[in-house]
Symmetry: C2
Subunit: 410 residues, 2 copies
């Protein structure tokens, strides 16, 4: 019985998790694939470091040595950065290997090229691990998309940001203290920019867009905001009225146009993301037949991410080399928008309540902090005119439930 030979690029958390899982679940892999899966090589950065890798595995810092192996079927990439990973994967595809990646930044930038190259070379591309770690969101979307027309996708896609927001609220800690605690727990990098400024979630959103809608919005048109502007004072004001800050990626399509944003949003307790706490991720898909489905689970970590890679390993071995993954229906339509385009907002740092008939003042939360209903244009104008500190959208039931009761009281 021949074996399936795998190279793992990178031996950090994800790479090591993949290596260990291939060892510990070798029986299951053989059962499902009919062949043994063997790690033939591991690409590392630093030859000095001690690693628990079997002696018969080629451990090298030189990718060309891996490419020259007599047999190589799958290359698993678990490094970071766009380069040299993109170049490595192109070479792997050209050699006839299936590729599997956990690298969202690289994949958001070069996924399309990799798919095209893979098609030419009759190999497959696995990328389940790029979005939401162990939650099988890519496979579930693929499954749904066979017949359903997806209209909206929302997600908590960055565990670090969600952990920090949870810590700030629960422990009444500052952003800086909570970031430190994320770093101590291994949930945040020394340089946390990618996570807390929303870049990580942005890349994942673009990958989801390609799956859900077959295309991406213009990257420049996507609102991307991190969590660094959120203070403990704001979190407390929101909590007082039953709302929580969540960093939410949102995708929808209307009239052939994809709308996407990645930003802090206030949600009420009926929203499926209100209770997603700590490093958990969640994805919520609204499609025309099935309605709304939510998936929740570990968004990162050694084994959850390894599980996604191993599922891809089975997928690339079993599937026919795919075209750009799925071809979603071009007729997908979006949920009806709010007809007047008015949304509910929390505005803070306002000097005073301003008379403006196009703004509905719903509630004063605390000194200078108000809940209003207005169009995006109007809230931006208000903030500019009054030199206010900022504003956040509120989604969910808050507006609907509260409006009638409180409007008259103001």
């Amino acid at each position: 019985m021949s074996a399936i030979k795998v190279a793992i690029l990178g031996f950090g958390t994800v790479g090591e998790g993949v290596y260990r899982t291939i060892q510990s679940h070798s029986e299951e892999l053989t059962a499902v694939l009919g062949k043994k899966v063997e790690v033939a090589a591991v690409l590392i950065k630093n030859k000095q470091k001690e690693r628990a890798i079997n002696e018969d595995v080629l451990v090298t810092t030189d990718f060309s040595e891996i490419l020259e192996l007599p047999q190589l079927d799958i290359v698993v990439e678990a490094i970071v950065d766009k380069e040299p990973t993109f170049t490595f994967l192109k070479k792997a595809i050209e050699r006839g290997c299936h590729i599997i990646t956990a690298n969202k930044e690289m994949f958001a930038h070069h996924g399309k090229e990799l798919f095209e190259l893979a098609e030419e070379n009759h190999v497959s591309v696995g990328f389940e691990a790029t979005v939401a770690g162990g939650i099988p969101v890519i496979q579930t979307l693929r499954q749904l998309l066979k017949i359903n027309r997806v209209q909206q996708v929302q997600g908590i896609l960055n565990g670090t940001s969600n952990f920090i927001l949870t810590e700030m609220r629960v422990k009444k800690q500052s952003f800086a203290e909570s970031l430190l605690s994320a770093q101590v727990n291994g949930y945040a990098e020394a340089d946390p920019t990618n996570d807390v400024e929303g870049y990580d979630a942005f890349y994942k959103t673009m990958i989801l867009s390609r799956i859900a809608f077959g295309e991406e919005p213009n990257w420049q048109d996507v609102e991307r905001e991190g969590i660094t502007s959120i203070t403990i004072k704001l979190i407390e004001a929101a909590e007082k009225i039953g709302l929580r800050f969540k960093h939410i990626a949102s995708l929808s399509r209307a009239g052939g146009q994809i709308k996407a944003s990645v930003k802090p949003v206030l949600v009420g307790s009926e929203h499926p993301f209100y209770h997603v706490e700590g490093v958990e991720n969640a994805v919520n898909v609204f499609s025309d037949i099935v309605g709304r489905i939510t998936l929740q689970g570990p968004g990162a970590g050694m084994y959850p991410t390894a599980s996604a890679v191993i599922e891809d390993l089975v997928y690339v071995c079993q599937s026919k080399p795919a075209k750009s993954s799925v071809t979603p229906s071009p007729t997908a339509i979006s949920e009806p928008e709010n007809p007047q385009g008015k949304e509910t907002w929390l505005v803070y740092g306002l000097a005073k309540k301003q008379l403006n008939t196009s703004i509905l003042w719903i509630e004063q939360v605390s000194e200078g902090t108000f809940i209003i209903q207005a169009t995006k244009k109007d809230v931006e104008q208000l903030v500019r005119q009054q030199n206010a500190q900022g504003y956040y959208p509120i989604v969910g039931e808050y507006d609907v439930e509260m409006k009638d009761e409180v409007v008259t009281a103001l």
Copy 2:
């Protein structure tokens, strides 16, 4: 281009939803299957009733007319009761048709025989619609099980019971009033026994067990309890201490033995099911690599269930005729049990607090209602000796968080 010919047995909510979806999503089905899907026949009960069915479809009360159609590829069964549905499906398989069922009672009883017969006849069996409506739980388990070893599955599988419990708590209504409201809303049958006594959830649990563990526990050994014993007074007592009643199906395997129960359980706000409200369903899978994943969505209704059937339609057309669906790892192990076997319980209708060193009295919730920690045997003995009204298990964080604080206060 030839077509795929489908017969739908039953034209109730599910049958009609499948019929309509095949019409409305005909383009998508053709795109994914390479052939047009056509409804060739519908089996009905009452010929007098008006139905929106195309003229070229055979509408009949006689199943043998359907079997005699010149071409028939798939039989979708959306009736209720074990018979004559089981007989119909056996005949359909023997004629060489793939079958798809939404009938949990029939499938829990006869799934194994249908699988064996399907294998002999080289056709496939789809049953995604039997459990949790539109939530793709069967496919997700299949996907996870390729490599993961599933250890525990929990679910809110009966939307009717969950709706009634939600109504009772939110509207402070009696069981009878809430049942009526479920009936008025079309969420409960005129005879609600199957739902409120836990039979429906029990059948679904047995189907999940076969998928997750490849086998079922002895049906007689499964604790099955409905929600009829839960009063508004108990719900209020639980709410006072942050707990909610949920009707939970639970499956786990330890030492080769499958443990299953279907019963009301008290959960705290950190439990993933605490916020699953109304007719929603949720399933929570704990497996060794990926950890805990929760899926939540519409558990019933015309289109969600139709979506599950249509997914099966694609599945049976694309997959090779499967053996009994999946062969899960025989080595699956369970999460470590509580070493002393002690669990936390809410006991009600107690005359007095009894001195018994094997019971840890945690909190008095109201007159005669206590939270205790004890083995199942001890709580049963206590209830028997004191002629108490009943007891419910509490799962989640309650015991861990509260214990230290309150024990000393009692």
